[in-house]
Assembly symmetry: C3
Homo-oligomer: 343 residues x 3
Amino acid sequence: MYKHSSSYSLGELADQLGLTLEGDPDQVITGIATLASAGKQDLSFYHNKKFHTDLTNTDASAVILPEEASLHCPANKLLADNPYAAFARATQLFQTGSAAADGIHKSASIDSTAIVGEGVSIGANVVIDAHAVVGANCTIGANTVIGAKSSIGKDSLLYPNVTIYPGVNCGSNAIIHSQVVIGSDGFGFARDGDKQVKIAQLGGVQIGRDVEIGAGTTIDRGALEDTIIGDGVKIDNQVQIAHNVRVGDNTVICGCSAIAGSSTIGKNCIIAGGVGIINHITIVDNVTVTAMSLVNRSIREKGIYSSGTGLSETAKWKKNIVHFTQLDAFNHRLKSLEKTNNK
Amino acid sequence: MYKHSSSYSLGELADQLGLTLEGDPDQVITGIATLASAGKQDLSFYHNKKFHTDLTNTDASAVILPEEASLHCPANKLLADNPYAAFARATQLFQTGSAAADGIHKSASIDSTAIVGEGVSIGANVVIDAHAVVGANCTIGANTVIGAKSSIGKDSLLYPNVTIYPGVNCGSNAIIHSQVVIGSDGFGFARDGDKQVKIAQLGGVQIGRDVEIGAGTTIDRGALEDTIIGDGVKIDNQVQIAHNVRVGDNTVICGCSAIAGSSTIGKNCIIAGGVGIINHITIVDNVTVTAMSLVNRSIREKGIYSSGTGLSETAKWKKNIVHFTQLDAFNHRLKSLEKTNNK
Amino acid sequence: MYKHSSSYSLGELADQLGLTLEGDPDQVITGIATLASAGKQDLSFYHNKKFHTDLTNTDASAVILPEEASLHCPANKLLADNPYAAFARATQLFQTGSAAADGIHKSASIDSTAIVGEGVSIGANVVIDAHAVVGANCTIGANTVIGAKSSIGKDSLLYPNVTIYPGVNCGSNAIIHSQVVIGSDGFGFARDGDKQVKIAQLGGVQIGRDVEIGAGTTIDRGALEDTIIGDGVKIDNQVQIAHNVRVGDNTVICGCSAIAGSSTIGKNCIIAGGVGIINHITIVDNVTVTAMSLVNRSIREKGIYSSGTGLSETAKWKKNIVHFTQLDAFNHRLKSLEKTNNK
């Protein structure tokens, strides 16, 4: 198994995580693991009653948990109101390594008009075009390209092989994974006879603060105005966001979902994996859409929405999909029976 | 908002777009915008009656519109038979910037046997392999790789981080966005016991003229013969085209759709987003498939086709998907009732 | 058409493929083609009775076929128990060209602590980070990045523009296509009020022997433990594999499918294209899931599974999707009728 190696005393961890320690501040912690798999020198966490037995049997040296569970914990305790969020913060302390060499690699091509902030690490073969701006303390992975007049906010991390087109502004503290493309042309054409005439995509992309964008995701630039991604939005791998889409703050979009042109998604939504959202619709705040649903109309009320059929054995499914095409006939047969019975 | 800056007199625009001007040829135009958002020095367009009020209230300095609407326009007029296509051509005049430095960047690796035409711009770290051909006036973005014996037609634009495998021929005037892969191996194996034996993919890829390919799209090479994309085909982001697929001229394929091996799509089709087309089927010309449909059989007549269910609140949906698996039982219950009633 | 050119005598081919030759060992073979399209000096193959007429009419110089079909073959014969697998092995002999220049390109950036085996070819602008290991006889395509402490087994082929994050171990004989990302962060957050707190992804990725990974596919690293891909797994283009997924040996995953976090897929499964598998479920060995199905529950028995509806003309489909949302009402109407009839 792949292992990050870091080492903290439990006192340091309590301090850095802002948690109350019940136990030995000098205990050394070198890793983080689930209750069931943790061993000596591991930190673990308890946030859900279904892991109660794991808690009482854990070999972890310390556990992040809510105060009311501390009686059942055989290890050192870090008391947290939100133990899962405290665990998330703890994992960040155990992450090691970085995506690029320190400083600016000699093979990078940085235009003389580009502005690169202090403390920036730039990997091999990175290209930063004219008038682009890279904020302080950014890390830019190898072979990444940042287009002209684009800007990346401070403290951001771009992994290798990212492509930022010209005219993209990204807020601070971004994490952008490999093979992401931001600012590619929206898919816009005007029909002229059999031919498609390209509508040049003249807008840009505006991305807020604290946004994460997963590997292989593509975000198109706007046609006349900008595509806009709010603060705190989290986007998984291979998501497609078309031109002039607007995504509200803190919305989460899971892998392989696609949002078509000019649609607006509210704040605090959860779009599960493989969802398709058609163009020119609106989804209000606090909506959840379940996996692989097609959103083919606006959603005006918060709630949970789905489409599709359940999974069946294929032999049965083949019968049922035929009947699906007969539903209108079923309805007529029912009406006819109901009419006869009501005579 | 991101802004391209160009400047034309209205007379120049009328000239370049081949439109009749009613108004002041010396009016300066610096941008292009919708009727509702346009301001002084902006060009706008009117192509649909639902924007009639916007037209009468616009602050644009000039509007592209059909002659019959000109009475209602408070601005200078550019008369067009197809105002939307004229608008599309106008946007192209306002696009600025390019994907690569002028000339050939010193860090590019171009094989001595490759042929590079006149007026070509090649970005940093571009790799052009043996016997590849890049036509005149092409722009090749940074970090793009063009494989051996492949060719790119004149006047084409490849954005950064594109990968063209060996044996790919692409016609003139192509636009290929970042992270596109053309010519990767088709997914072909022969089972031998539990193991899969790879079928080497010996075909290539043939792409016509005036094709656009969106970011992250993948097009596989053929197994024994070539994968073929017709002239004027427009492909959006993250589309997957498998080996030996044939796509007819001027067909439009929207984001995240996938076409499985050896299927043939006709001319002038519209494949909406997220569509899946299974292998070895045929779709005739002039077919539209709506978003996220599964095409699991050939389509022999032009028309519009769909699959899937509508969107519901999840609580209701959970009941209905159970009933979906009972449709065969529903049919038997209906038959039984009908039999009783006909006694 | 794109043509690989190789030349073998039929005797050499029989020898290399381990097949019995009935015919002229000196016959020169320069290509491989289907029975219908093969010409002089082409090798072909017969593995399915539906091609019987093609066999009797073929112009191929030689045909791989089972002994029982040899009477009907007008050409030289290579007798095979499994002719399709023998054909697959033959195609490999006709593949020419490679993804990278021989040796190590002068523009590659290889960390002094990285270990590169004998006979390795490394393309332009390749980056190999600290303590990474590249096994003997590997080919690493241009602009590919291999992260710190990752390892690639011997005899592997990485095409251009691949990104391997740190902490990824890949077995021998891998084929990894362009724009693949392995080891990107799993999509894990803990909610704290409206904000999402990132769970650092501390696990790695373990990939077995003889694995092929298609263009644009993304495989995330594990959260606390590793993501695991078994031996002989074949993954097509644009597949998404989330953190802590486990895929059993020899399973085949077709294009654009996605497997959500912590799900386990058995051995020898076939996951067709566009399938979505939700998180935390288990699929046993020898399961087939058909195209674009949503697997929203565990599959405990081997067999073939599907979801979705068949394809309809959109006008009819619009009626039926309304009825789909009325299935619960249909059920009540049926019950009511049945009650009346049983009185």
